[in-house]
């Protein structure tokens, strides 16, 4: 399957891969430096290189740790220890009397190149370039200091400079180059999805055709082969049965038993929230949906549209949190409200610190929902993900099949309910610590629900309505 990375994962993925490549480059350089130092201290035998061996080993260990956990403290520790190691290594190697004619030896470049290949914390080309530049400067300063204390003449180190320039070039190219075919990736994603749907549809078609064949066509053939005159009993029974089959919903059972036994979810599929999620899925976001999806059918067209746009904006925000693959949408309802919660395990933020760049959340989400009498609550902490709860008032709706009287009753009830404004709970009284950092692919929608979120489990859904 050639389903490439979606836009929002590219930066983080490339950054990780480049960091991994840098670390391996650095580790090989350090291994080379270590072996060289060992070879140099064995023949002719010297003691002065022993400290250097320890320093290189320490630097290598730190680089291995950094390769595993790319954190800021480890990056800084590596840069500092690397600078010390470079100093020790350079002064020890060049300090060997009468061995090296000048400082521009490849051997001397080894720890320096390892220092450039820091592949530090954070994703993004510019951060990578920044760390490498710090590494380059530290390496050059340490080496220059060390060389100045030896009799060897100082010459520019071409290897280190070229390595640095090359690494920076690659990082800028990979990080900043506009990916060709930004629109093509969603199109291909869509095509894969369509193909999957088509296979299922084809399966249904084949079954429907089989039934058609077994009933209609057979019956027509029986008639065509019959003798003119009164119908035989067998033919009559066959005809009766076929007509019954065609009229009944037996068909659906035959085509797809699961659909026939489960309640329809057309209300969900035609809702604006579903369409918004669908669009985001084309862009490569994996969205898990749980909860009472059908309750969205209760929203009036305007609320439905606005809620769809608000959910879309929430999901766009998730996409912008580079590196997040999944978001979760939990839909819930009670007699008065329908609520949608959008959760992600992304970077998170402090709402108080949000600047003008959070216009999307404030304008597209909060204003939009509040204008319709709904409420928006946001829980987020840096590093702990974000949860946005959108609640909209939605009067209970009666199913169309219910008798007119019952419908009228319900309409009256809805009318009497309507004037009571739905007062959204203040966000301050809701510290849903359990939901702030949502477990990935959590399926429990009711368990950790915020206090004001409706619990549909014990409230009969109004669409069930009174039985006539």
């Amino acid at each position: 399957m050639s389903l490439g990375l979606p836009d929002h994962l590219v930066k983080a993925t490339l950054s990780r891969a480049l960091a991994r490549a840098s670390h391996w480059f650095g580790l090989i350089c350090l291994a080379g430096a270590l072996l060289s130092v060992l070879a140099l201290s064995v023949f002719p035998p010297t003691d002065r290189l022993q400290v250097t061996v320890a320093a290189i080993l320490g630097m290598g260990a730190l680089l291995a740790l950094l390769a595993r956990w790319r954190t800021v403290p480890l990056t800084i520790a590596y840069l500092l220890l690397g600078a010390v190691c470079t100093y020790l290594f350079t002064s020890a190697v060049l300090g060997m009397p009468g061995v090296f004619p000048s400082s521009d030896m490849f051997l001397i470049s080894l720890p320096k190149m390892a220092l450039i290949m820091v592949g530090g914390a954070g994703s993004g080309a510019l951060i990578g370039v920044l760390w490498s530049t710090v590494g380059f400067l530290l390496a050059e300063v340490a080496a220059t200091l060390a060389v100045s204390q030896t009799p060897v003449p100082d010459r520019p180190d071409v290897f280190t400079i070229v390595t640095y320039l090359f690494l920076v070039g690659v990082m800028l190219l990979d990080g900043l180059a506009r990916r060709t075919g930004r629109t093509a990736q969603p199109a291909i994603h869509r095509a894969v999805q369509d193909d999957e749907s088509r296979i299922l549809r084809h399966d249904f078609d084949v079954r429907a055709i089989a039934l058609m064949h077994d009933t209609t066509l057979n019956q027509l053939v029986s008639v065509a082969r019959a003798k003119p005159g009164p119908m035989t009993r067998g033919l009559e029974a066959g005809l009766r049965e076929t007509l019954q089959t065609l009229a009944d919903r037996d068909w659906l059972t035959h085509v797809d038993e699961r659909t026939a036994t489960s309640a329809g979810n057309d209300g969900w599929l035609s809702s604006a929230v579903f369409r918004a999620i669908d669009r985001m899925r084309d862009r490569g976001l994996v969205v898990d949906i749980t909860g009472d999806k059908e309750s969205l059918a209760r929203l009036d067209p305007q609320s439905d549209r606005e809620l769809g746009l608000a959910v879309q904006q929430c999901l766009v925000n998730v996409l912008l949190h580079a590196g997040i693959v999944t978001a979760e949408v939990v839909i819930d309802a009670d007699d008065q409200n329908v609520s949608v919660m959008v959760l992600d395990a992304g970077r998170g933020f402090m709402e108080a610190e949000t600047g003008s760049d959070r216009l999307g959340l404030r304008q597209s989400v909060r204003k939009r929902i509040e204008r319709l009498g709904g409420s928006v609550q946001i829980w987020s902490r840096p590093g702990a993900g974000t949860s946005v709860l959108l609640t909209l008032p939605a009067p209970p709706v009666v199913a169309s099949t219910i008798a007119a009287a019952a419908a009228e009753e319900a309409a009256e009830a809805a009318e009497t309910d309507a004037p009571t404004p739905v007062i959204p709970a203040n966000s301050s009284d809701l510290p849903p610590s359990g939901r702030v950092a949502p477990a990935r692919r959590s399926t429990s929608s009711a368990a950790g629900q915020p206090a004001n979120a409706p619990t549909p489990a014990n409230t009969p859904t109004p669409t069930d309505g009174p039985t006539p």
Partner: protein, 462 residues
């Protein structure tokens, strides 16, 4: 493709397009460095012929890299990898021979650095194991040719240090390239697993709607003819000659519809969808699919998706003539199955009772499959897409680049001809002869009721 042999290029062709400028960049670095190093170290050169050969071989390796990495030649195959590595290694050996006995330093030899750079450039295109293996082999060769030259080196350090220098120059960039390749492939595979799961879940969500649509479509078709006829018949309780004739006619109609439906391939579905999209955009069009032998059913899922996306992009392109698109599939591979209408052209529409007896036999029976032909050397299905696109050729190519990038990875031998306004895209799908039995899987997805395929006596469903 196995997981072990996955590459970024095969898994994410679009992402690899963005990395393409690195190949010519590295190739030019390699070429410039080998020329400059040769010129600057003239005094060490003993054999000018070998020195020239060294530069030429290294240049050829760089050229191989550029050619093989070009998006138009995707994917970068193992043969090109081998050719490039062999040329680079030959360049290195020639360089060492040219200065044998008077080589003052190892670190300024261009061979190891160039090999390292060239192998690093393979990162987006080749599996990490093969990159690492190439690097290991090259460094063994480097150590082997460095050790015997110990006498000529000017710095008096243990010869092991020289060997370490030459091996590190190869191994460090190679390890970086292999690590990149491994890491990126793992990330993409992890993403694809997620995406796959999401696609299945998404399809499942629409399941009910789809099943109901299928039933409604069938019932709607019957309501106009068959149901009233049968109901009327039941009411009257007698069969007339006219009824018999009409039943035969209706049976033939139903049969024809069923055959047409069951013969629809994914390509027809794509065309139908694009036609609807064109109508929605206010430019109703005519899309022609010519696949009389139903070769489309032999295409794999990724091939179907890539082709559908390409057709979609063409139809949505500015300057597209909505009446111009023709998709044709021909080929040398045996047809997936003979079209029922073509296979039995002489069969008249059943209008009499005798004829209709054979009607219920639906096509796609296993008996209709042709006997497996003797294994032909190349079993190809060739898909040709023609369209009229009123755009400058440069823009057409820019528009199609990402889609063709994907097509090149999942198909073979992609040919594109742009002669404004006409555009022809042709590509081949090589059919695996071992897979021939599994090929026509599309029409008979699992759980297909036996009634469709087997020639059993029809049964009543209650």
């Amino acid at each position: 493709m196995t997981r072990r042999r996955s590459t970024q290029q095969r898994l994410d062709p679009l992402g690899t397009l963005a990395a393409w400028p690195l190949a010519p960049l590295i190739a030019s670095i390699v070429l410039c460095y080998s020329v400059i190093a040769t010129v600057l170290q003239q005094s060490q050169i003993q054999n000018p012929l070998f020195a020239t050969l060294a530069v030429l071989a290294m240049g050829a390796a760089a050229g191989t890299l550029v050619i093989a990495a070009q998006p138009a030649n995707a994917p970068f195959n193992g043969r090109m990898h081998l050719v490039m590595a062999a040329l680079a290694l030959a360049g290195y050996l020639f360089e060492q021979f040219s200065r044998w006995g008077s080589n003052l330093l190892v670190q300024d030899d261009f061979g190891p650095v160039c090999i390292g750079f060239l192998l690093l450039a393979l990162a987006p295109y080749r599996p990490w194991r093969q990159i690492a293996l190439s690097g290991a082999v090259a460094s063994v060769v480097a150590v082997a040719v460095t050790l015997p030259q110990a006498d000529s080196f000017e710095v008096t350090v243990p010869v092991a240090v020289y060997a370490i220098v030459s091996a590190t120059q190869i191994l460090a960039p190679t390890a970086a390239g292999a690590a990149y390749s491994r890491r990126i492939v793992r990330s993409i595979l992890a993403w694809q697993t997620d995406a796959r799961r999401a696609i299945v879940a998404r399809t499942e969500e629409a399941r009910g709607q789809m099943a109901r649509a299928v039933v409604e479509q069938q019932v709607a078709a019957l309501k106009s003819g068959v149901i009233p006829f049968l109901a009327d018949l039941l009411e009257r309780g007698t069969v007339t000659a006219l009824d018999i004739a009409q039943a035969g006619q209706l049976a033939a109609d139903v049969r024809r519809t069923l055959v047409a439906e069951i013969d629809r391939t994914w390509l027809d579905t794509v065309a139908t969808r694009e036609r609807a999209a064109l109508t929605e955009r206010g430019t109703p069009g005519l899309l022609v699919v010519a696949d009389p032998e139903h070769r489309a059913t032999a295409f794999r899922a990724d091939q179907r998706a890539a082709t559908a996306a390409l057709i979609g992009a063409l139809c949505a392109a500015p300057g597209f003539d909505p009446h111009s698109l023709v998709v044709q599939i021909t080929g040398t591979a045996p047809p997936v199955k003979p079209a029922p209408s073509k296979a039995r052209p002489a069969q008249p529409l059943p209008t009499t009772a005798q004829d209709t007896a054979s009607v219920p036999r639906l096509p796609r029976s296993s008996a209709a499959k042709p006997a497996p032909a003797a294994p032909a050397p190349a079993q190809l299905d060739t898909i040709t897409i023609q369209a009229a696109l009123d755009l400058p050729p440069r823009k057409v190519k820019a528009l199609l680049r990402p889609y063709l990038g994907v097509i090149r990875v999942v198909f073979d031998n992609v040919r594109v001809t742009v002669r404004r306004p006409s555009l022809t895209i042709e590509y081949d799908s090589v059919r695996d002869p071992n897979d021939a039995s599994a090929a026509p899987q599309a029409p008979a997805t699992p759980a297909t009721p036996a009634g469709v395929r087997a020639q059993k006596a029809p049964r009543q469903v209650r």
